[in-house]
């Protein structure tokens, strides 16, 4: 492969770079800066009170809990799906690949409505759930489920791309040497995919903690009970407590910045470009 081209910095290049930098500052950086500007608009003491408010703390807790539940499940699913798709041949493989991608292309609102029509009182299995005194909709489990839907492709996608490129010779060698399936995975596959795995988990986490549309349909919006942090941002904003909303938003913005930094570190480590 030829080395990537680096053009010299002539007049055209400098003009293009300046336009790009200015647009990015106005369009991408300014929104991030304005969040902190607004959050601290009334001083640090108010900011601290806003963050330490009981409902906001609960929202932070529920957001963390959602990540604790959803991330391990979707990581395992991602590993299993990528392993099956890249190491074995079977009919319907393309169909499975497409099915994995579905949540990426569906509006979060549509995902939320689908869950409501499945588990809600008027839904497909809702009446049965009510008979058995089980409540899923408008409660915390609904938030977990719908977040699983929305974020299920992240780890799988990241791993499939890498593992397809790596092929399966190493596993075949391990198998000839008498390795069991688990040994093969733990000793051969995992060391080769660990950075991509971490990368997928980080991206998945950002979406888990930030999901808004799908969660807002199924959460029921009970103050201090079923509000995740993004929902709490909306609630405060509509309560005309803009400073409080931006304070809560600043926590999520920090999460985004940490995600961005970790992602660039991992990219440099693996020389891996995300194929979005």
């Amino acid at each position: 492969m030829a080395a990537p081209i680096r053009s010299s910095l002539n007049g055209t290049a400098i003009t293009l770079i300046v336009i790009g930098v200015v647009l990015t500052l106005l369009f991408i950086a300014a929104p991030v800066i304005v969040i902190f500007d607004q959050a601290f608009a009334k001083g640090f003491a108010i900011y601290r009170d806003n963050i330490l408010h009981k409902e906001t703390l609960h929202a932070i807790w529920l957001t963390l809990l959602t990540a604790l539940v959803v991330l391990p499940i979707n990581t395992l699913f991602g590993l299993a799906a990528a392993w099956t798709i890249t190491k074995f041949e079977f009919p319907g493989k393309r169909l499975l690949l497409t099915a994995i991608d579905i949540p990426f292309s569906i509006s979060p609102i549509v995902a939320g409505v689908s869950y409501l029509l499945l588990y809600g009182a008027l839904g497909l299995v809702g009446p049965w759930l009510i008979e058995h005194d089980l409540r899923i909709m408008f409660s915390v489990p609904a938030i977990f489920l719908v977040t699983m839907f929305v974020t299920s492709p992240f780890v799988a996608r990241e791993l499939i791309t890498l593992m397809q490129a790596q092929g399966r010779e190493r596993e075949e060698v391990a198998a000839t040497l008498g390795a069991s399936g688990w040994q093969m995975f733990y000793r051969v596959t995992l060391p080769n995919i660990k950075w991509a795995l971490l990368y997928g988990v980080i991206l998945c986490n950002a979406r888990v903690m930030g999901e808004f549309g799908a969660v807002s349909v199924v959460s029921g919006n009970l103050r201090g009970q079923t509000l995740t942090l993004p929902l709490q941002v909306q609630l405060l904003y509509h309560d005309y407590n803009a400073t409080g909303a931006f304070a809560a938003a600043s926590v999520l913005t920090l999460l985004a910045i940490v995600t961005m930094v970790l992602k660039s570190i991992l990219e440099r480590r693996t020389e891996h470009r995300r194929r979005s």
Partner: protein, 261 residues
């Protein structure tokens, strides 16, 4: 294999099936009545119009960013590259209130734009701005690796033959990038059609003017009009499947071209 399918079925396919079954339950006549009601039609128009505007902007800005990030080395490049991930990493609701704060009449941008007669917040332009923000990384990140892999010789020979810079770009470089650019723009468009969190804060949400379809679904749910919500959701679902198929088709066309080369 079995576990994968079980999980996908339980988490993804079952809810979608419920959506489709519940819509057909209400009958085709009712479905048609809902999706052709003036308010629903207006919401489709707003959504598609704003998504087209957003994609037009993202296609140019995204291509520019992909180009300068791969072709040139300059101070701050790594930071600029990392900033391209902000729209994906920032929760959409947060992006929504931030953009509203910037473009509102008293905001950093709004205070200059509005006196100049250019109102963004609470207009269709505002909807498009929010959509563009959340979807521009699709264009950048799809085009970037392709520019990275362009071969030097093609351009060198073009340069020795005396082609102008612009001509080299238009005749040689852009055709090579085009499939990836198209794929990125399709993904950006699809994302814009479904965007909710970023849009609802800046849109003002006036029925017939700035009300997007995703919000209309939400309003119907709050009115407990589930069949109407389901009907509009099915339309969005169908459009999403259509774009997914289109993107897949473009991707396999890209692969075929690469193989031929």
């Amino acid at each position: 294999m079995g576990t994968n399918l079980f999980y996908l079925t339980l988490i993804v396919l079952l809810p979608i099936t419920a959506l489709i079954l519940k819509t057909t339950d209400a009958g085709l006549a009712r479905f048609w009545e809902v999706i052709t009601s003036p308010r629903a039609l207006a919401s489709f128009e707003v959504t598609i119009g704003a998504a087209l505007l957003a994609t037009a902007f993202s296609s140019v800005y995204g291509l520019l960013m992909a180009w300068i990030l791969t072709r040139y080395r300059f101070p701050g490049r790594a930071l600029l590259d990392a900033l391209m991930d902000i729209p994906f990493a920032l929760p959409t609701a947060v992006a929504g209130i931030a953009l509203t704060a910037l473009f509102a009449g008293n905001g950093w941008f709004g205070q200059y734009l509005e006196p100049a007669g250019f109102k963004v917040a609470y207009t269709l332009t505002g909807v498009a701005v929010a959509m563009a923000f959340t979807s521009v990384p699709f264009v950048v990140r799809t085009v970037q690796p392709v520019i990275e892999e362009l071969r030097l010789e093609v351009e060198e020979s073009a340069a020795t033959l005396g082609a102008w810079q612009w001509q080299t770009f238009r005749r040689i470089i852009y055709p090579a990038i085009f499939p990836a650019h198209l794929a990125g723009c399709t993904m950006a468009f699809a994302r814009s059609l479904g965007e909710f969190g970023a849009v609802i804060f800046i849109a003002g949400n006036l029925p017939f003017e700035t009300e997007i379809s995703a919000l209309l679904i939400f309003i119907r749910l709050e009115e407990y009009d589930y069949p109407a919500a389901a009907a509009i959701a099915v339309v969005l679902l169908a459009v999403a499947f259509f774009t997914l198929l289109t993107t897949n088709a473009i991707q396999s066309w890209r692969l075929k071209r690469v193989v031929k080369d």
